[in-house]
C-alpha cells in the first residue's frame, strides 16, 4: 500500500512539473506583455515593473526562479492586485469553491443513489420514467442554463431565495443546486444501471436461495456491489465540479476560485493563471489518487499495484 502511494505521489509530482512548465512557456508565448493596458502606462513605469518582477532576466532564469518558488508552493505575487499574492487569493477564494462543490456532490449523492435504486426497482414504471426524463434533461443542460433557470424561477418569479452574492446560507442554495444537477443525473443513471446489473447476478440469486428476504437481497447483497462504480467516479466528479464551477460562480457573483480564474485571464495576470492552473492540477491528481485508494479499501478484489498479497 505504502509503496503504491509513494509511486503515485511521485508520478503526480512529475505531472505537475510538466504542467507547470507548459503553462509557464505558454504564458510567455502569448503576444503582449502583462502590463499592456488599454491606456498605456509610461515607459519608465513598465521598466520599473519589469525590473521588480525580474521580467527582464533571460527566460531560463525566470523559469528556474518560478519552478523553485512553485516547489515551495509559492505562486508569487499577483501582477494585477498589487497588495496580494496568488497564495492569498487561493487561501481566500478556494474555501468558497470547495464548500459549494463539496455540498453539491453531497446533494447529488444523497438524491442520486436513492433515485437510482428506486428507478431500478421500479423499472419502466411511472417513477422510473419520470426520473429518466429529468436526468436526461439535467445531464444535457449546461450548468449555466440550470443556474439561470433557477435564478429566474426561485429568485425572480417566486422570490424565495436571494438572486446572488455570498455570505448567507440562502445564497448558497442556488449555486449548490446548479452545480449538483450534472452529478445528480450522472449518479442516478449510474446507480440504476449498476443496480439492475447486480440484481441479475448469480450471487444475488444465491442470497435469495439462502433465504434472504427481498429487502436483505437488495440493500445488503446488491447495494454494496452496485455502489462501487459510484465510488470510483467520486474523485473525478468532485474535481470536475470544482474546476467546472467558473461560470456558475460568475452568474451568482460568488467570490470563488473559478471566478478568479476567469478574471485573471482577462487581466493577463500571469502568475495568477499559472498558479491556479497548477493548483487545479494538484487537486485533480489528489482526488484521483484518493479515489483509487478508497476503491481498494471497499472492493476486496482490487489489489493496488505493487502490493504484496
Amino acid at each position: 500500500m505504502f509503496k503504491y502511494i509513494l509511486k503515485r505521489v511521485l508520478i503526480g509530482i512529475l505531472t505537475i512539473f510538466v504542467i507547470a512548465s507548459i503553462t509557464f512557456f505558454l504564458c510567455r508565448a502569448i503576444p503582449g506583455g502583462p502590463f499592456d493596458r488599454d491606456k498605456p502606462l509610461n515607459e519608465t513605469t513598465i521598466a520599473n515593473l519589469n525590473a521588480k518582477y525580474h521580467l527582464d532576466d533571460p527566460v531560463w532564469k525566470q523559469y528556474l526562479r518560478y519552478m523553485w518558488d512553485v516547489a515551495k508552493f509559492d505562486f508569487g505575487p499577483s501582477y494585477y492586485y498589487k497588495s496580494e499574492t496568488v497564495n492569498d487569493y487561493i487561501n481566500r477564494c478556494f474555501p468558497v469553491s470547495a464548500v459549494v462543490g463539496f455540498l453539491s456532490i453531497i446533494v447529488a449523492l444523497a438524491l442520486g443513489i436513492p433515485l437510482g435504486i428506486m428507478s431500478a426497482l421500479r423499472q419502466n414504471k411511472l417513477e422510473d420514467n419520470i426520473t429518466k426524463v429529468l436526468t436526461t434533461l439535467l445531464v444535457s443542460l449546461p450548468n449555466f442554463v440550470v443556474a439561470s433557470g433557477l435564478m429566474y424561477t426561485l429568485a425572480y418569479k417566486l422570490n424565495i431565495l436571494p438572486p446572488a452574492l455570498w455570505g448567507t446560507p440562502q445564497q448558497a442554495v442556488m449555486p449548490i443546486l446548479a452545480l449538483a444537477a450534472y452529478p445528480l443525473s450522472y449518479f442516478t443513471k449510474m446507480m440504476k444501471s449498476s443496480m439492475l446489473e447486480v440484481m441479475d447476478s448469480d450471487y444475488v440469486r444465491t442470497a435469495r436461495a439462502k433465504g434472504c428476504s427481498k429487502f436483505l437481497m437488495t440493500y445488503k447483497h446488491a447495494l454494496k456491489n452496485a455502489v462501487l462504480p459510484i465510488v470510483t467516479s467520486l474523485g473525478p466528479m468532485f474535481a470536475g465540479t470544482l474546476t467546472g464551477s467558473f461560470v456558475v460562480e460568475k452568474i451568482f457573483a460568488i467570490p470563488g476560485l473559478g471566478e478568479q480564474f476567469t478574471k485573471s485571464i482577462f487581466n493577463r495576470d500571469y502568475p495568477m493563471i499559472m498558479g491556479l492552473t497548477i493548483f487545479y492540477s494538484i487537486l485533480l491528481i489528489v482526488f484521483v489518487l484518493v479515489t483509487d485508494i478508497a476503491n481498494a479499501i471497499i472492493d476486496p478484489r482490487i489489489k493496488l499495484e505493487g502490493e504484496e498479497s
Binding site: S201, D202, Y203, V204, R205, T206, A207, R208, A209, K210, G211, C212, S213, K214, H221, K224, N225, L228, I298, D299, P300, R301
Partner: protein
C-alpha cells in the same frame, strides 16, 4: 410413508412479448428422503426452471401456471413469499453452476457462511456460528478453515468455491439439496471430487438431492433415479441402472450415444442431430418427432402419453403403447 417431495403436473411459463414460453410443461415426479434424483437433458430443456420452480425463485416474467409442489406434506406453491424465505436455505437449499460468480465478491467467506445461520438459527451466538462454519468447511474438505473464513471469494479456486457453496447449502441440514449443474464449470478431476463429496455428505446427513446435469456420465454413481427432460417435459423416468442398461426413449438413446467412452476413438462422439423445438409454438405432436430416427406417422399426429416400460420405468413414446407391435 409420505414422500419428501411430490411435484404434480407442474407447468411454468415465461410471458414475453413474443408470447408464452412453456419452459416446464406438465411435469410430475417425486422423491423420498435421502434419495438422489438426476435430471438430465440438453440445454433449454427446462431443468433449471424446474428447480427454480421448486425454490419459487423463477426469473422475472415467469410463473407457475399450473400444478402443485408438496414438500414435507406442505403445498409450497401456496405459501407466501415470507413463509418461503423460511424454507429456502433451511429446508431446501440450492447450489449453482458457476461457483466463480455465485459468491458475493464483497463479503468474506465467513460472512456468507454465517449469514444462513443468522437467517435460520437466530438463537445461535457468534462463537457457535463460527464453530459450525469451521466444522462444515472441514467436512467439505477445505483445509485451513480458520484462515478461509477471513478470505474473499476471489482468493479461492473454482473447486474451492463450489465446496464453500456446498458448505453453505448444508449448514442448516436441509432435507433437500438442489444442485444445478454443480460440476459443469469445473475441471474433470475436480468434477469427480465434488460428486464424491456430495455422495458422502448425502449419506452422512440423509439429504435428498436433485442433481441437474446434461451429462449422464457425471451422475452415474450418485443418482438413484433419473428424469430425462426434453422440451419442458419429462420424456423418461427410470432407476439409474435401468436407464443405462435398458433405456426406453429414443431421446435417451441419443443422450447415451453422445457420452464419451473409454473405448472410443477421437471424433467418434455422436451428438443428437437437430435442435430443440421452439417452446413458443403450440405442439400437437411428439416434441422429439423431427429429430427422432424412429418417428412414425402417429408421432406426427398426436402427443404420446406415458407408458410403462418396466418396473418404476415410464417413457413418453408411442413405441410403448400397448398396441405397438413388439419386435421379435
Amino acid at each position: 410413508m409420505s414422500k419428501l417431495l411430490e411435484v404434480k403436473n407442474l407447468s411454468t411459463s415465461f410471458f414475453t412479448k413474443y408470447g408464452e414460453i412453456k419452459a416446464v410443461n406438465n411435469v410430475s415426479f417425486d422423491l423420498d428422503e435421502g434419495e438422489v434424483l438426476a435430471i438430465v437433458g440438453e440445454s433449454g430443456s427446462g431443468k433449471s426452471v424446474t428447480a427454480f420452480s421448486i425454490m419459487q425463485l423463477i426469473a422475472k416474467g415467469g410463473r407457475i401456471v399450473n400444478g402443485e409442489i408438496h414438500f414435507n406434506g406442505q403445498e409450497i406453491t401456496k405459501l407466501t413469499e415470507k413463509e418461503m424465505t423460511r424454507i429456502r436455505g433451511k429446508e431446501i437449499s440450492m447450489i449453482f453452476q458457476d461457483p466463480m460468480t455465485c459468491l458475493n465478491p464483497v463479503f468474506t467467506i465467513g460472512d456468507q457462511m454465517e449469514e444462513v445461520l443468522k437467517l435460520h438459527f437466530k438463537e445461535l451466538g457468534k462463537a457457535e456460528r463460527k464453530q459450525r462454519c469451521l466444522e462444515m468447511l472441514d467436512k467439505v474438505g477445505i483445509p485451513n478453515a480458520e484462515e478461509r473464513l477471513k478470505q474473499y471469494p476471489h482468493e479461492l479456486s473454482g473447486g474451492m468455491r463450489q465446496r464453500v457453496m456446498i458448505a453453505i447449502s448444508l449448514l442448516c441440514s436441509p432435507k433437500l439439496l438442489i444442485a444445478d449443474e454443480p460440476t459443469t464449470a469445473l475441471d474433470v478431476t475436480i468434477q469427480a471430487q465434488i460428486i464424491d463429496l456430495l455422495k458422502e455428505l448425502k449419506e452422512e446427513y440423509n439429504t435428498a438431492i436433485i442433481i441437474i446435469t446434461h451429462d449422464l456420465g457425471v451422475v452415474a454413481n450418485i443418482a438413484d433415479k433419473v428424469n430425462v427432460m426434453y422440451s419442458g417435459e419429462i420424456v423418461e423416468t427410470a432407476d439409474i441402472r435401468n436407464l443405462y442398461y435398458n433405456p426406453s426413449h429414443p431421446y435417451t438413446w441419443g443422450l447415451l450415444k453422445a457420452l464419451p467412452r473409454l473405448d472410443m476413438k477421437e471424433n467418434e462422439l455422436q451428438p443428437i442431430p437437430g435442435s430443440t423445438p421452439d417452446l413458443l409454438l403450440e405442439m400437437d405432436h411428439c416434441p422429439f418427432f423431427d429429430r427422432c430416427e424412429y418417428a412414425m406417422e402417429c408421432c406426427r399426429q398426436s402427443k404420446p402419453e406415458y407408458y410403462e416400460t418396466g418396473e418404476n420405468h415410464i417413457a413418453k413414446c408411442w413405441r410403448y403403447h400397448p398396441d405397438f407391435p413388439k419386435e421379435a
